[in-house]
């Protein structure tokens, strides 16, 4: 179990030389076949036992280990003729062009060589500059038609994709002719290039000699890298790479025998080209210019390049991201009774996932019991690990023996229990709050349960969403998760420095119902709700009033019970529609700093929230109190009283408001959109008027009386005028509807407190839908000159171009319904396109920025130590700890300190 930890310091890249390939080879492969008729690996074949074994029972002939333990060993194929490596074909061309065909020197004068050497030193490791320099040298050397070193005349070299080189020679009479350079000739030339010229060509003299780019020996990857699979029918299916290697060896053998037999040059060259094709596709089967090698079934083979490339390739699919153990996935459902930092884990999941716990003298008894319970009984264990590192699976029959043997130093992999730390995640993981640490609550049934307040960071709802759960296995991982990743540490979003985990929907409506003016509760109600919300008070505060001998408490008094006692804050909330009353209160506070409670109560107004020393004296709580993004109250609690207090507050406030909303009853139905006849008449009047005005505009346009707006054509002017008229009509209709719908209407309560929806949604339901649009324009596509055949061609009137005068409640006409669907479709298409685009942008951003970190000296640096910012964000402040972006909220600090010094009376 304990092994020496080795650290990889760096990785060197280079090209394998033929000698190296031979040296690391365990066997030369000469037979283009895999298994014999008995299913036994053929010696010298592609499944040679010296290359490692995959069949159970066999032993590797190189290392002697069995399948699974043997990592595999490379073999090699001696190619009959040199072959160009496709990956380097372009570089070979560049090198050929920049060097002399006779002496092999780079076609630069000594002075130039010195100059460029110096430049390389200056450039150092900067990649782009280096690229540019290499390009420049190539350009210069290519154009030199006489070698500056030996004076030999040079010829242009044409490269024909993927692997053919032509030399455009001239004979003595000056006739041009093309000469095909076979790989052997290419290799000869490359061999001549001296080591000292290589850096100028962008090559490394020790790690990548140019002639190594022309293969003479081909490495054969170990069997473990290309295992064959046995289908149910017993037929062996070989890996794509094996197939390709078979082809290569077969052609190589044919080429060899033809050469030995002295076959005509033409035949040899054909075979040579065929071998080149096979090696090319073996390396990259998507090389442009040649047809991809196909499997028998017609599917293109997945060769070396294809294994590495792309999203499912080795790099992005297996190395950057991996499949893991100790994880679970199931549907999520809500549970308002658990804390925000808990997650309900189904018992079936809890019995499958385990946490390794070291046996110590403190937990010996407990773990022994777990072992005795075994894997089938809930608080049990699935495995134990003895001090030698052996994993023993617990089964019904060995429980007692192992429990007896259990001692300090052993490790028990016990079932997940209440209080264990787990990571909880929902895809797409767009920000760090998409993975947070929760504490386990083991529960019956089969879904993960989570508190509603943590839905926003995960962007989760319960329409069938599934989430993943991971169990950190080491103490270090658990500690990091607990300290850095727990939910309460992420209440404030690092994106904008405001709360992200917050009350939503019913919590906000409920808060309004609880704290609005005139909300009073009897003793039994108060006791029940406090009990439900888990608020502990030694005794109830004094009742606010007595009616018919019944003691009544106001909702504000109850809400104050869950606030910290020295909290003072005031702000205008979302219901503030009478600025004068707010100003009166603001003036009072400004004058007195700590005004008398009675004075405040006299001025109390639902639209102005004022909490003095932990007492809600005026105003309701709404989205601005503990809602997402602008929950000021929650924000202050997190910052001034800490995350643990904030968690408690959120837990209590959500439970309290849920009690209120369930016991008071809160629903919205079709009669919430009822408008009196007079209102409907006025709306109809507005519609009629708007349509008339549109008609007048159209007439003016037809008569040529319309004045075009600057920079617009006549048609555009007409359209924008009509749009303005219709938008105004919808707004006016909305205003009429709004006037008749008061705060007794539940839909209005939701919209105004910010719990759900906007006033616009209500007016669309009650008054009218308004103009439907596509790309910000009125609807115009469909038939020639009209959207639907129900209208005359060229009809520009409001109704013909997607103005919907009905409301959802009154019901749309068929035409209107179609218009509405057109507008709706645009939205759907938009979302689909957007997710793809923004996903790619985010991937690029992350790849570009992920290495940046703040150093101990407060600078922002990239991994090579280059300073990107001298002080992070110019003030060194963490956006998550800033006050909505500000370095320090000076006003708040002054007021808070003053209150502390003068405040509490």
């Amino acid at each position: 179990m304990q092994s020496m930890k080795k650290v990889i310091g760096s990785i060197e890249f280079g090209i394998l030389s033929p000698q190296e390939i031979r040296k690391m080879s365990a066997a030369e492969i000469t037979i283009p076949d895999t298994y014999d008729d008995d299913g036994y690996p053929i010696e010298g074949g592609l499944m040679d036992k010296r290359l490692g074994v995959i069949d159970p029972g066999l032993r590797c002939e190189t290392c002697g280990a069995r399948a699974g333990d043997c990592p595999g060993h490379f073999g090699h194929v001696e190619l009959a003729r040199p072959i160009i490596h496709v990956g380097f074909a372009k570089t070979i061309h560049r090198v050929l062009e920049s060097t002399c065909r006779e002496c092999g020197r780079i076609k630069l004068t000594e002075d130039e060589i010195q100059e460029y050497m110096k430049k390389f030193e200056v450039v150092g490791d900067r990649k782009k500059a280096k690229d540019r320099l290499i390009k420049e040298i190539h350009k210069k050397a290519k154009e030199r038609m006489v070698c500056p070193h030996c004076g030999a005349p040079q010829f242009p070299i044409k490269f024909e994709r993927p692997t053919i080189y032509w030399e455009l020679r001239k004979d003595e009479e000056g006739n041009e002719y093309r000469h095909r350079m076979m790989p052997s000739e290419v290799r000869d030339r490359l061999e001549k290039i001296p080591d000292k010229d290589l850096p100028l060509l962008g090559l490394h003299p020790e790690k990548s000699r140019p002639e190594w780019m022309v293969l003479t020996v081909l490495p054969v990857p170990p069997v473990t890298m290309r295992p064959s699979i046995t289908l149910e029918s017993g037929i062996r299916a070989e890996d794509d790479l094996t197939h390709k290697l078979v082809d290569i060896i077969r052609i190589n053998n044919r080429l060899k025998s033809n050469i030995e037999a002295g076959a005509p040059q033409l035949i040899i060259e054909d075979l040579w080209d065929l071998l080149q094709y096979h090696v090319t596709t073996y390396i990259n089967n998507e090389t442009s210019g040649i047809p991809p090698a196909k499997h028998k079934s017609g599917r293109p083979l997945k060769t070396l390049s294809q294994r590495l490339k792309g999203k499912e390739g080795r790099f992005r699919g297996n190395l950057s991201g991996k499949r893991v153990n100790f994880s679970a996935r199931t549907v999520i459902s809500p549970d308002p009774m658990i804390s925000i930092n808990e997650v309900g884990v189904p018992i079936a999941v809890a019995m499958e996932l385990t946490v390794p716990e070291k046996v110590t003298e403190f937990n010996f008894q407990k773990l022994k019991q777990r072992v005795l319970n075994g894997p089938e009984k809930y608080p049990g264990a699935n495995y134990v690990i003895d001090p030698e590192g052996r994993r023993i699976r617990l089964m019904e029959n060995n429980l007692e023996i192992i429990a007896e043997k259990l001692d300090i130093g052993w490790t028990v992999e016990r079932h997940l229990e209440d209080g264990d730390i787990v990571l909880f995640n929902r895809q797409p993981s767009l920000h760090r709050m998409s993975i947070m640490a929760h504490r386990v609550r083991v529960m019956p049934y089969k879904t993960f349960r989570l508190n509603l307040a943590v839905c926003p960071p995960y962007n989760a709802d319960f329409d069938g969403d599934e989430m993943n759960l991971h169990v950190p296995q080491t103490e270090e991982a658990q500690a990091e998760a607990k300290i850095l990743m727990e939910v309460q540490n992420h209440i404030i979003s690092p994106r904008y420095g405001g709360p992200l985990i917050a009350g939503m929907q019913d919590h906000i409506s409920g808060g309004y119902l609880l704290t609005r003016e005139g909300a009073y509760f009897t003793r039994s109600e108060v006791e029940q709700m406090l009990m439900f919300a888990g608020i502990e008070v030694e005794e109830l505060p004094k009742p606010d009033k007595k009616e018919n001998g019944v003691e009544l408490w106001s909702g504000k008094t109850i809400f104050s019970l869950l606030l910290p006692d020295d909290l003072t804050i005031w702000y205008r909330n979302k219901l503030c529609d009478d600025p004068e009353r707010c100003e009166a209160l603001e003036k009072l506070i400004e004058e007195k700093l700590v005004p008398d409670e009675e004075e405040v109560r006299k001025l109390a107004y639902d639209g102005f929230t004022y909490i003095l020393n932990g007492k809600l004296l005026s105003g309701v709580v709404d989205k601005k109190a503990y809602g997402r993004e602008d929950g000021k109250l929650l924000d202050i609690i997190v910052r001034e009283y800490g995350v643990e207090r904030a968690r408690q507050f959120l837990d209590q406030v959500t439970k309290l408001t849920i009690w209120v909303i369930t016991h008071r009853g809160f629903t919205t139905a079709i009669d919430d959109e009822d408008l009196p006849d007079e209102a409907l008449d006025r709306i109809h009047e507005i519609i009629r008027e708007a349509e008339e005005r549109v008609q007048r505009l159209i007439e003016a346009y037809r008569n040529g009386e319309l004045e075009p707006l600057p920079g617009k054509t006549l048609e555009e002017t007409l359209e924008s005028n009509i749009m303005a008229v219709l938008a105004e009509a919808r707004d006016n209709a909305g205003k009429v509807a709004e006037k008749y719908l008061g705060m007794t209407n539940h839909a209005v309560i939701m919209a105004k407190t910010g719990a759900r929806g906007k006033i616009l949604n209500i007016t669309q339901m009650a008054a009218m839908l308004g103009q439907q649009s596509i790309r910000g324009k009125r609807l115009y596509r469909g038939y020639r000159g009209r959207v639907l055949t129900h209208f005359k061609p060229g009809d520009l009137s409001a109704k013909a171009r997607g103005f919907v005068t009905n409301s959802y409640k009154s019901g749309l006409t068929p035409q209107e319904y179609f218009f509405h669907a057109m507008g709706g479709r645009e939205g759907l298409v938009d979302t689909a396109v957007r997710t793809a685009q923004s996903g790619y942008m985010q991937r690029r951003l992350i790849n570009a920025l992920q290495d940046l970190k703040v150093d101990y000296d407060g600078t922002v640096r990239d991994p090579s130590g280059i300073i990107v910012q001298f002080k992070y964000g110019e003030d060194g402040v963490d956006p998550m700890k800033s006050w909505q972006g500000k370095t320090v909220d000076v006003d708040r600090v002054i007021v808070r300190t003053l209150l502390k010094v003068r405040g509490r009376r």
Partner: protein, 391 residues
């Protein structure tokens, strides 16, 4: 009541950055007037501010790059795709929302809707007529813009343009000027005016396609104004007139008489980098992203955007975020290979004999080692005393 001087000395003694000192000082003076602070209170406030500031400082090792990328990427999922919206000036289209952010991050040389906001100098600022004068100097006009009708006369081998007198007058040109301008630019043809009709006659009679080609050139030839600027719109903002232009030519516009070069701006970041330098370009990137985000109603902390802009302008030239820019220039082979075009990067690395020092995040994820950010930068080892075995 504490004297302002005492407050000043007290504030200056504290360990706060200058801008907060200033803010705190101003606020303290303000509150002092209202509440008549005592010295102890001022001291308490300053102490509290320092505490608050220190608490808010970022911790070493914090992976702010990732946080910045997420903070811009995550809200972009909520942005509209509606390319054309109207911002401020109803007459000019501006790319907004996600496409605009992508455009900025990609550092496109030619944004899809370049726009300049031209402020005017003291002399031209308050008078509509004078502003119009400047606008005329800026607005690029070609024959095409002035023409009411254009036709090729095949029989006489001529190009006939009928000019709209109204537009001609508006542009501040006249027929003579047009003719002269064209004559000086096109030596291969003769120009003739007859009232409001302009006739172009090539000196050499050739193929019809030659005539057509030449007429296209003449049509597009700029008669006056700046190249690239198509439309100008004058708007009154406060008490001054401002010219908005569709199309941008920042370098030239600053030289136009009547323009206030200190306030005039463009949304083409490359032009800003070229004319005003890289620091200005950095500020332009920040401002453009902030404005786009704000227009969509999305809050993103300025620090994240600054980091992106700093990264893009670090080398003195604007680098796009992506394969051709920042990622493509990373020192680490593995980091580049893990992003895009995997195999090419590996071949190139082999060719050059590159060494990957493995000091970035992806590289270490790839090889399964702790990443060098956050808790991964702490290097501390400890030998725990082993508890004696239980009897």
């Amino acid at each position: 009541m504490v004297a302002a001087k005492t407050i000043k000395t007290l504030v200056n003694k504290s360990e706060l950055p200058d801008n907060i000192k200033e803010e705190l000082y101003n606020k303290l003076i303000e509150y002092n007037k209202k509440y008549k602070l005592k010295k102890a209170e001022v001291e308490a406030i300053i102490e509290e501010t320092v505490k608050e500031y220190k608490k808010a400082l970022i911790e070493p090792g914090e992976a702010i790059g990732t946080v910045a990328a997420q903070s811009i990427g995550e809200p972009s999922t909520q942005m509209t795709l509606n390319t054309f919206h109207y911002a401020g000036v109803a007459e000019i289209n501006v790319t907004l929302g996600l496409p605009r952010v992508i455009e900025i991050v990609d550092a496109r040389k030619n944004p899809s809707t370049p726009i300049m906001t031209v402020y005017l100098d003291e002399k031209h600022r308050y008078d509509r007529e004078k502003a119009l004068e400047v606008a005329r100097r800026i607005e690029g006009t070609s024959l095409e813009n002035l023409a009411r009708e254009m036709s090729l006369d095949i029989l006489n081998y001529e190009f006939v343009v009928e000019i709209d007198p109204e537009r001609l007058q508006k542009s501040g040109l006249d027929m003579e000027k047009v003719q002269r301008k064209l004559e000086s630019s096109f030596k291969s043809a003769e120009f003739e005016t007859e009232g409001y009709v302009l006739i172009m006659r090539p000196k050499k009679v050739g193929k019809l396609s030659d005539l057509r080609r030449l007429s296209e050139k003449v049509k597009k030839h700029r008669l006056k104004g700046l190249s690239g600027v198509r439309k100008t719109i004058i708007r009154k903002e406060g008490d001054e007139y401002v010219i908005y232009t569709e199309g941008s030519n920042f370098k030239q516009v600053l030289k136009v008489p009547g323009v206030d070069p200190t306030k005039t701006r463009t949304n083409n970041i490359w032009e800003i980098a070229e004319v005003l330098g890289i620091e200005a370009a950095r500020n332009a990137i920040i401002e453009e992203i902030v404005n786009t985000m704000r227009e969509q109603g999305l809050e993103v902390d300025l620090r994240h955007i600054m980091l992106v802009a700093d990264m893009m302008t670090l080398d003195g030239v604007i680098l796009p975020i992506g394969r051709h820019g920042i990622v493509g220039e990373k020192a680490s082979v593995l980091a580049r290979a893990a992003f895009e075009i995997t195999t090419q990067h590996l071949f190139e690395a082999a060719e050059r004999g590159e060494v990957d020092p493995l000091n970035g995040v992806v590289e270490n994820v790839l090889i399964g080692q702790p990443v060098p950010v956050g808790t991964g930068i702490v290097k501390l080892a400890m030998n725990l005393p082993l508890r004696p075995k239980r009897e």
